[in-house]
């Protein structure tokens, strides 16, 4: 993959970007940019506005207000030229069931203006990249869910795009298929591609993304590198304990001492602390059973829950 954009001109930039459906605000005045060569992750619960934002970027949903530019071109006005430089992997597979696996790629290459020979060559190369050469002549409907996802990824790459937009590329897939897709995305990343991907998997975000936008209810609630965001907003360690009928006093006293609150869900307790070892020693000194408490580094999931809350989303 090539990245035609020069070093500091953003590949995409949004200012006050909003989308309203009737009175409902799906995307609420968000600002962000995608920098050349980076993998930008959009992390957010269902309904956060991730897909809507991406659909505005790939020019199929007009923004209600705000500014959006891609490759220095204005969204909407230059839609055709913008789309020519994008690759899209939508949230729901929309492969052409009436065409063979290979023809799905070939026709997309043709839509992107490639000639017949070039389209065939690119298609074959990408079938090899996603490991579907053996299925080239089969009908799409005979593929498994994981194979369809890989084919959709290949389709998104067929025009050698300058920015690839991937909407929840691994949601609903087997662990093996997820790992296989991650390998492909990491290969793209190593090759210097600019990617924007949405996910609600923390491990995926942490593993693949250089930078994250955390979205909730149509807003960007935090942006930065995964490590940086955690360091900025949370203490570096978490003490976790299981009460098993025991007293939560030691945890509350620890939380008071470090100026945090002990978060309780059912039988479990957690406290963010600046020094994990000291905190654990303090707990043990306060009579906590060593088998029921442990220290771990704060992670993205902690941050995500801290930012977006613990209640269930549809």
């Amino acid at each position: 993959m090539t990245s035609a954009a020069t070093a500091d001109v953003p590949v995409a930039q949004a200012r006050g970007l909003s989308k309203r459906y009737g009175g409902f605000v799906a995307v609420d005045a968000i600002d962000f940019e995608v920098r050349p060569g980076e993998v930008l992750g959009m992390l957010g619960p269902n309904g956060a506005g991730k897909s809507t934002t991406m659909r505005m970027m790939y020019q199929v949903t007009p923004p209600s207000s705000g500014e959006l530019t891609l490759f220095g071109m204005r969204s909407g006005r230059d839609a055709r030229r913008i789309k020519a430089r994008l690759g899209v992997v939508p949230q729901i597979d929309n492969l052409d069931e009436d065409l063979s696996v290979r023809d799905n790629l070939r026709i997309h290459a043709r839509y992107h203006g490639l000639g017949p020979t070039e389209a065939a060559e690119r298609s074959d190369a990408l079938l090899a990249f996603v490991g579907l050469e053996a299925k080239a002549r089969q009908q799409v409907r005979s593929l498994s869910g994981g194979m369809k996802r890989r084919l959709t990824l290949a389709r998104g790459l067929v025009s050698d795009p300058d920015l690839v937009i991937l909407d929840e590329p691994t949601t609903g897939l087997d662990p093996q298929v997820r790992l296989a897709l991650w390998d492909k995305l990491e290969a793209l990343r190593t090759a210097g591609a600019t990617l924007m991907l949405s996910t609600h998997y923390m491990d995926e975000a942490e593993r693949l993304c250089d930078r994250l936008l955390i979205m909730d209810a149509g807003r960007v609630v935090a942006a930065g590198t995964p490590r940086g965001l955690i360091a900025e907003r949370l203490d570096p360690y978490v003490i976790e304990g299981r009460l098993k009928g025991g007293d939560d006093g030691p945890y509350r006293r620890l939380a008071d001492a470090v100026g945090a609150t002990a978060q309780r869900s059912g039988d479990r307790l957690s406290v963010f602390v600046p020094d994990g070892r000291a905190a654990l020693e303090r707990l043990l000194g306060d009579g906590v059973d060593p088998d029921r408490a442990f220290v771990r580094p704060s992670n993205l999931e902690d941050l995500f829950l801290a930012l977006t809350g613990r209640e269930l989303r549809e």
Partner: protein, 255 residues
Amino acid sequence: MIDPASVGRVWLRNAWVFRGRWHYGILPNFFEPVFYLLGMGLGLGYYVSTGGAFGGDYLTYIAPGLVAASAMNGASFETTYNVFVKLHFGRIYDATIATPVGIQDVTVGEASWAVTRATIYGGTFLIVTLFFGVAVGWHLIPALLAIVLIGFAFAALGLAFTSVVPTIDLFSYYFTLFLTPSFLFSDIFFPVAERFPPAAAAIAEFTPLYRSVQLMRGVLTEGGGPVAGDVAYLLLFGTALLAFAVWRMRVRMVV
């Protein structure tokens, strides 16, 4: 706004799908005219008094109208059920419009493919009529052009309808309440004006299939009437409805 190259690529996609299964499609295309000409032309025609308005044998009278109707059917199936399924179930347009191809190119591309299908249908019918002794000769070229124009008008009408209907069930209204009466009362089988009151005949004469039948008769029969009015009607009708369909499909897809 409409990019001809993109329109061509949408056409190409449909041609690829058709290429994979043309042998299934073409056989009914071939037998339908054979059965019509045998049943209505040779069978029923025997009992229809010759002379009068027909001025010849019945098969020769109905053949041009049947060619026009088959072009209508080819364009209609393509732009109703097929487009609706792609629009709502297959989501393939969602994938297409995320490429440099826009929704307006998709709409016009579908129309162009429907014209192709109409030409295959109507052209097959036309060729079959040759074997039933309907003289065509040099009329073949204007007749093919007429088929293209009829295909265009009905492709536009089908797309316009598809772009507004919310559910697939409503197509049975289109076929039963519009295309079927068009087929029966467009001068294909009998001169409508001779059998129905002037007001009813005037309505019939205003429908696109009636104009198509007049056009086809005009180009296929020796000393056929002038066709400029019918050509203008079908061109205007098709262009206006295609413009409407392009606009409506955009409203529908771009939310």
